[in-house]
């Protein structure tokens, strides 16, 4: 009798243990499922909020009134004035944006041999000639410059290709098909793509560099840099003019300022535990009649 009772007790305990284990397993499964769904939901809401803000910001930028380094507009959820000073501004506790203007960037014409080599060397830390292959890539003839390369060079590769020969490159990534450029490491490539903007402007490719990166390109005293930073915040056009003077001293004499056809920016959106960060560029119609801000316009209103 005692044995039977002991057996029954053991069975009760086993079954209880199994039931408890099953309950814990189910709770775990339920919790994981709920957490996943919640995370996915948060991420999705953050993504959609971010896209929505970019769309509204596009409307704000394209219909706004511009003056110096700010744009004004009336749109719900946005302040009446947004300053294009490349610093983050909180729209609310979950959204922050940063805007900068093409007019605040510095332009280099690709025909300047010194400039092209100088700029690329800051990233690659080498002394290769990047200008000659670049010019050969663009020009219509088949005569190779001293350190350049025409089709004969590119035909030696396993996957052969030919020079563009159409006077312009179609996308910055095209650079890395060109002799010497093609040997640049992937990390350096992405830095060049990130920091350079290519805009087809007045028959030349203009390379615009973000002012905050200017210390990479020229030797500049702390005093000058401080003065430039103040101008950058308050008077972007004078900033670019001052920078041109400094660049000329460094031998980069063909650097110039270009009208604004582009507004570039970053947006950070947070929703619960999810964060989304995106970059965007708003391009205005590229016509001389429609840059929203240009040196000439600025001078006439000054």
């Amino acid at each position: 009798m005692r044995n039977r009772k002991a057996f029954a007790l053991a069975m009760v305990l086993w079954i209880s243990a199994i039931l408890m284990a099953s309950t814990i397993y189910l709770l775990g499964m339920y919790k994981k499922s709920v957490t996943n769904a919640q995370d996915l939901n948060d991420k999705l809401v953050a993504e959609l909020n971010c896209d929505s803000y970019i769309d509204r910001l596009k409307f704000y930028a394209l219909t706004g009134r511009y003056s110096q380094n700010y744009v004004q507009n009336d749109l719900e959820g946005f302040p009446s004035t947004l300053v294009l000073n490349n610093t983050f501004k909180n729209l609310d506790e979950n959204v922050s944006i940063r805007l900068r203007s093409g007019g605040q960037m510095l332009s280099f014409y690709d025909s300047n041999i010194l400039t092209l080599n100088h700029l690329i060397h800051f990233y690659t830390k080498d002394r290769l000639n990047y200008n000659d292959p670049y010019q050969d890539w663009l020009d219509l003839d088949s005569n190779s410059l001293l350190n350049g390369a025409e089709n004969g060079y590119y035909f030696t590769f396993t996957k052969q290709y030919s020079c563009s020969n159409i006077g312009v490159i179609q996308h910055p990534e095209e650079l890395f098909l060109i002799k010497n450029f093609k040997d640049i490491d992937e990390g350096v490539r992405s830095e060049i793509i990130k920091n350079f903007h290519f805009v087809n402007h007045s028959g030349l490719n203009v390379w615009m560099i973000k002012p905050k990166d200017i210390k990479k390109y020229i030797i500049i005293s702390d005093f000058d840099l401080t003065q430039l930073s103040v101008l950058y915040q308050n008077d972007p056009i004078k900033y670019v003019y001052s920078l041109q003077v400094l660049l000329a001293k460094n031998g980069l004499d063909q650097a110039s300022q270009s009208p604004s056809y582009v507004i570039d920016g970053d947006i950070n959106v947070k929703y619960r535990n999810s964060r989304v960060k995106k970059q965007f560029s708003f391009y205005f119609q590229n016509s001389y009649k429609t840059p929203y801000l240009s040196y000439k316009n600025y001078l006439s209103t000054d």
Binding site: S16, L40, E47, D51, K159, H171, G203, Q285
Partner: protein, 207 residues
């Protein structure tokens, strides 16, 4: 013997019955959870894929492909932009592809009640950048499933010359039926090539 209490045997029988019921309940619960997972992932898929497609079309890149042996500036001037479209398929170049971060040739194809997607980087060393194509090892991904009566339709820009408007549309519409609900996705394509036209025109005149 105290008859008012349950014997161990009675408790055992009760526990077995309870465990049977619980096991059945567990099985049903797991099925329900799986069903919820499936539905929630489906419901999340739609806005995610819509957002991906929207970015894909908004970032349409006016990329000129080589049509003849000699690629000339005149071809750029004549708007030989890579943009192939039909009712079931669309191929173009986008600077915001879904998987890569580089400029890519992308293709959307409606096949067997699914919307399939593939992309191939333009400046991939294996690729011919002047005549980009999908390579043999390009993988395809399902973007939308269980869709019926799906088709692409296109809307031309009204204020542009016919040779551009016939090639690159202003709006792309994707219509389909899913779970007996009609969907129409409308995507806007950004035009930004006025300058290129102006530049090449001036270049041609000066040569």
């Amino acid at each position: 013997m105290n008859k008012s209490a349950f014997s161990l045997i009675e408790v055992l029988v009760a526990m077995v019955i309870v465990s049977l019921i619980t096991t059945t309940g567990m099985f049903s619960f797991k099925l329900a959870i799986n069903q919820i997972d499936r539905q929630s992932s489906l419901s999340f898929d739609e806005p995610i894929h819509f957002s991906q497609l929207k970015n894909l079309f908004n970032a349409t890149y006016f990329y000129t492909e080589e049509k003849k042996e000699q690629f000339t500036p005149a071809e750029l001037f004549e708007y030989k932009y890579l943009f192939r479209k039909s009712e079931n398929e669309i191929t173009f170049v986008s600077s915001a592809p879904i998987y890569s971060k580089k400029l890519s040739l992308v293709n959307l194809k409606i096949i067997d009640n699914k919307l399939m997607y593939k992309e191939e980087e333009i400046y991939n060393p294996k690729q011919d950048y002047k005549k980009p194509i999908f390579l043999e090892d390009t993988s395809e991904h399902e973007l939308l499933t269980d869709i019926k009566n799906a088709k692409f339709t296109y809307e031309k820009p009204i204020d542009l010359p016919a040779d551009i408007s016939s090639r690159v549309p202003k709006l792309v519409k994707l219509e389909f039926v899913r779970n007996d609900v009609d969907f129409t996705y409308i995507f806007d394509i950004k035009y930004n090539f006025y300058y290129l036209k102006q530049f090449l025109k001036s270049k041609r005149l000066t040569q």
